[in-house]
């Protein structure tokens, strides 16, 4: 089982968390101004990197807060976690 460090509660077992998809996707401020392609991009198009991925997680069976994590998709190692609203941390290679 993965041990995931929640920014609020500390290290917790994976089964307390749920995955929330790619992080740092802002909802358009004026959705009516978007054409179909831009709206499609916002709703459906996601990065699928082999390597580091910033993603949303929710500590649903703990403090219930959303937070962001940088995970390496090759190794499943979680390199950093940080609160929503904070920028993704710089992680040395």
């Amino acid at each position: 089982m993965l041990i995931i460090p929640c920014p609020y509660c500390g290290e917790r077992p994976e089964l307390e968390f749920s995955y929330g998809g790619q992080a740092h996707i802002d909802r358009p401020l004026a959705p009516t101004d978007l054409n179909d392609e831009e709206w499609n991009e916002y709703l459906y198009v996601r990065a699928n990197p082999k390597g580091r991925h910033a993603e949303r997680w929710r500590h649903i069976h703990g403090c219930a807060r959303f937070f962001n994590a940088v995970r390496d998709t090759r190794t499943d190692h979680i390199l950093a976690t940080y609160k929503v609203g904070e920028p993704a941390p710089e992680i040395p290679a």
Partner: protein
Amino acid sequence: MFETRIASPFSGESGAITAVAPLGRAVLRCREADIGRVSDKLGLALPQAACRSESNGPNSALWLGPDEWLLLNADMQDGWVPGLAARLDGELCSLVDVSHRQVALSIDGERAEEILASGCALNLSLRAFPVGMCTRTMYARAEIVLWRTGPRSFYLDVWRSFARYVEALLREAESEV
């Protein structure tokens, strides 16, 4: 006055696992900036450190999240939650009476940690989970609130419909550890 009688979903009262008498429960949510004022009005300091609890007489506040607390009233006094709501009048916060949504078990004794470890993935040693620590977590497939009330005592709050499931697994674990 009505006499409040609540049927316990639990089957037995033996060994290390016992049903806790009915409690008053409320979930309070408020913003960080208001915590001090709300604490004053409640007469109970809302803990701001993660996974910690505060008690004052029969009342306790358990940290569930940075803006969420489970309030417990051991006396199960009639009108406790409406009384709290009246005291919080004018505050922008949410207070929900969940007294009957959950039921509680007490797990006590030398083997309490081992019994809980049968279904709970947290490190429950006294160093990692000291007295007064509380958290929402999982026991097997059920969400619980776990609170360490003493070096060998745990309070376990679980939604009523999951109660017999949790109790059955705990009793099985008790027979095996």
